[in-house]
C-alpha cells in the first residue's frame, strides 16, 4: 500500500530520525530599477512531508528541478525553510541557529555528487578528512587525529599511506570514498548522499554503492539517497519517494513502487528508462 505522505509506515519501533512536515522553500523573483520588488517566487519545494526511520535507506527520485536536492539541503539546514517543520531526532531544527545548530550538524552529514569539485584541491586528503574534527573540537591531539583518519581511510577502502596526497592524484571513485570518509568522521546518525555515483564510471558505481551499504551496516546509519537513476535507487533503498515539481507524488516501499506504481508520473519515469521497455537488460535466470 502506498500513501502520499508516507507517514505512519514505520515498522521499526521508536520515533523516526527525521520528520519533515509541509516543508516549503520559495526562491523569490525580483524586479525593479532601484528597489527590488518581489513579483513572484520559484517554488522549489512546495509542501513536502515524509519521515525517515532509523536505520532505513530512503530514496528520493526525480528529474531536474523536482526539488530533491533542495529538500536535502533543507534537512541539512544548508538552506532556511520558507515554511514547514523539520524534526531531527525528536528536536525541531527548522529555525535553529548558532551553537545548537552546530551540535546538530555533527549528527548529519552529506556526500556530494561531483567528486572532482567537492574536494578542496589545495588540501591533502588527510586534512580534508580531519577537518570535521577541527571544526567540532574533537581529537585535539594530532597523532590521535591522524590515527583516527587513517582508520577511516582503511574503512572506506583507501590506502592509509596516501594520507598526504592531494585529490587530483586519485580517481573519481577513490575521491568519492574520500568524501564518504569525511562524512563519516563524526560518526553521524544520518547520511545524505546526493547523486553519489552519477559522475562515476559505470563499473565504479557499484563499488561506491557497496561501500555506502557497508558503512550503513557497520555504523548503523540512516541513509537518504538522492538520485535520478531509478535502478540505483531500486537496488539501495527500502522506501522510495518520487518528486515532481517540488512535491512528493508517490512514496512507497521498494517492491511496490517498482512492481505496481500508482502515480502516472512514476509509471512514466519507469517506462522511460532506456532498455526498460525491451527486456534485454535482464540477466535471465
Amino acid at each position: 500500500m502506498s500513501t502520499a505522505a508516507g507517514e505512519g509506515l514505520g515498522t521499526r519501533p521508536g520515533e523516526p530520525l527525521v520528520q519533515v512536515r509541509e516543508l516549503v522553500k520559495h526562491f523569490p523573483i525580483t524586479r525593479g530599477i532601484i528597489f527590488q520588488r518581489r513579483i513572484g517566487a520559484t517554488k522549489a519545494v512546495d509542501g513536502v512531508s515524509f519521515e525517515v526511520q532509523r536505520g532505513e535507506t530512503l530514496g528520493i527520485v526525480g528529474e531536474t528541478g523536482c526539488g530533491k536536492t533542495t529538500t536535502a539541503r533543507l534537512i541539512m539546514r544548508l538552506l532556511d525553510a520558507t515554511a514547514g517543520e523539520i524534526r531531527f531526532d525528536g528536536q525541531d531544527i527548522t529555525r535553529l541557529k548558532g551553537a545548537p545548530l552546530k551540535a546538530v550538524r555533527r549528527e548529519m552529514q552529506m556526500v556530494f555528487q561531483d567528486p572532482y569539485s567537492s574536494l578542496n584541491p589545495r588540501k591533502t586528503i588527510g586534512s580534508i578528512i580531519s577537518e570535521p574534527f577541527a571544526i567540532h573540537g574533537l581529537h585535539r591531539d594530532s597523532s590521535e587525529r591522524k590515527r583516527t583518519v587513517r582508520e577511516l581511510m582503511d574503512t572506506v577502502g583507501l590506502n592509509p599511506e596516501h594520507y598526504n596526497r592531494y585529490p587530483h592524484e586519485f580517481s573519481g571513485g577513490e575521491r568519492q570514498r574520500i568524501g564518504v570518509a569525511r562524512a563519516l568522521a563524526l560518526k553521524p546518525k544520518l547520511l545524505i548522499a546526493d547523486e553519489p555515483v552519477s559522475a562515476l564510471d559505470v563499473s565504479i558505481q557499484a563499488q561506491v554503492l557497496n561501500l555506502l551499504r557497508d558503512m550503513q551496516r557497520r555504523f548503523g546509519l540512516t541513509l537518504v539517497l538522492i538520485s535520478h537513476d531509478l535502478s540505483v535507487v531500486r537496488h539501495m533503498c527500502d522506501r522510495v519517494a518520487v518528486m515532481y515539481r517540488g512535491e512528493i507524488v508517490e512514496l512507497a516501499f521498494n517492491e511496490e513502487l517498482y512492481s505496481q506504481p500508482s502515480h502516472p508520473y512514476t509509471r512514466a519515469l519507469l517506462a522511460a528508462v532506456p532498455g526498460a521497455r525491451k527486456d534485454r537488460r535482464t540477466i535471465p535466470e
Binding site: R31, G32, I33, I34
Partner: protein
C-alpha cells in the same frame, strides 16, 4: 534591458557625485602646496598671500567651500575658475579636449587594428615562431616606459632633431580644422607610442581568450558541420572571445580621454593631460577637480556603452 540601462545610468550619477566629493576632500586635506602662496610668487608678503586666499575663497570653512563647489557643479555645470590663470575651467577643458580626443581615438584605432590580428594569429599558431616573436615583442613594449619610447622615437624620427627626419617633432600639433595634413602627421609618432603598450596588452589578451574559446564545444560542432576553418575562427571563435577586450577597451579609452599625460608631455600635445599636469604643479584645485571629474565621466559613460555592447553581442545578457 532598458531597466538595466537606466539603473546603470543612475548609479553612474551617484558615482560621479561620490568622485567629485572625494576629490574635493582629498585635495583639501592632503598636505599639498598652498595655491595662494604659489600664485603670489616667491617673495610675496603674508598680507598678499592672505588677500589672495580670501579672493580664491580659501579662507572659508571646508564645508562651505564644498557646498559652494557642489552647488555650482551640479546646478550650473560650472567647474569654477583656475586659481592660477582665472580662466574658467570649463573653457580650458573644452579648448584642450580636441587634442586629447584626436590622440586617444587615433591611438585606439592603431592598437586595435594592430593588436587584435596579431593576437588572433598568435592564438591560432601557438608556439610557432610568429607567436613567440609577437609575444616577445609584446613583452618588450609593455615593459618600456611610454616617455622613454616617446623620446627614442623623437630621437630617431623627429623632423627637427632626429636622426632620420621623417615625422614632425614635438610641439607640432595643430587642430584638424586648421591643417588636416599637419594634424595627421604630427600625431603619427604620438599614436604609435601611446598605442604600443596597449597593442601588446590587447594582443596577449585576445590570444588567451581565443585559445580558451577555440577549445569550447561549439567550436567542435562548427567544425563537425564542415565549415571552413576561417569561418570557424572569425565567425564562431572571435565574437565569443571578444568579451574581455570590450571590458578593457572601455576602461582604457575612458581613462585616456582624461589625458595621456606622459605622451602629451613628451610630444607637447596641448591636451587634457598637459592641463592636469600643469594644474598639479600649481596646486590649481579647480582644474584638477575638473579633469578628475572628466575622467570619471568618460569612464562611467564608456562602461555603460560597454554594457550595452555586451547586451547587443550576447543574447544571454539581454534577457537576464
Amino acid at each position: 534591458m532598458t531597466r538595466y540601462i537606466i539603473r546603470r545610468i543612475l548609479w553612474g550619477v551617484v558615482l560621479l557625485i561620490l568622485v567629485s566629493a572625494l576629490t574635493f576632500i582629498l585635495f583639501r586635506i592632503l598636505p599639498t602646496a598652498d595655491p595662494a602662496r604659489l600664485r603670489a610668487g616667491r617673495n610675496a608678503s603674508p598680507a598678499v598671500v592672505a588677500a589672495l586666499r580670501r579672493d580664491l575663497g580659501l579662507d572659508k570653512p571646508l564645508i562651505t567651500q564644498f557646498w559652494i563647489y557642489m552647488k555650482n557643479l551640479f546646478l550650473h555645470f560650472d567647474l569654477g575658475y583656475s586659481y592660477y590663470s582665472t580662466a574658467s575651467v570649463k573653457s580650458l577643458i573644452f579648448d584642450r579636449l580636441p587634442a586629447t580626443v584626436s590622440l586617444t581615438v587615433g591611438a585606439a584605432v592603431v592598437w586595435l587594428v594592430v593588436g587584435l590580428p596579431v593576437g588572433i594569429i598568435s592564438a591560432l599558431r601557438r608556439r610557432s615562431k610568429l607567436d613567440r616573436a609577437s609575444m616577445g615583442t609584446a613583452l618588450v613594449l609593455v615593459s618600456a616606459p611610454e616617455y622613454w619610447l616617446g623620446l627614442i622615437c623623437l630621437y630617431l624620427f623627429a623632423a627637427d632633431i632626429g636622426q632620420l627626419r621623417v615625422f614632425p617633432g614635438s610641439g607640432s600639433y595643430v587642430g584638424i580644422t586648421s591643417d588636416p595634413v599637419k594634424w595627421l602627421t604630427s600625431l603619427i609618432l604620438p599614436w604609435f607610442v601611446l598605442a604600443a603598450s596597449f597593442a601588446a596588452v590587447y594582443a596577449r589578451l585576445i590570444r588567451g581568450s581565443l585559445i580558451e574559446t577555440m577549445s569550447e564545444d561549439y567550436i567542435r560542432t562548427a567544425r563537425a558541420k564542415g565549415l571552413r576553418e576561417r569561418r570557424v575562427v572569425l565567425h564562431h571563435g572571435v565574437p565569443a572571445a571578444i568579451n574581455p577586450i570590450l571590458t578593457i577597451v572601455a576602461l582604457d579609452v575612458g581613462t585616456l580621454l582624461g589625458g595621456a599625460i606622459l605622451v602629451e608631455t613628451v610630444f607637447n600635445v596641448p591636451g587634457i593631460g598637459r592641463l592636469s599636469y600643469d594644474a598639479i604643479t600649481h596646486a590649481d584645485f579647480p582644474i584638477i577637480q575638473g579633469t578628475v571629474l572628466l575622467v570619471a565621466l568618460f569612464i562611467v559613460v564608456a562602461n555603460i556603452l560597454a554594457d550595452i555592447a555586451y547586451a547587443y553581442l550576447d543574447p544571454r545578457v539581454r534577457y537576464s
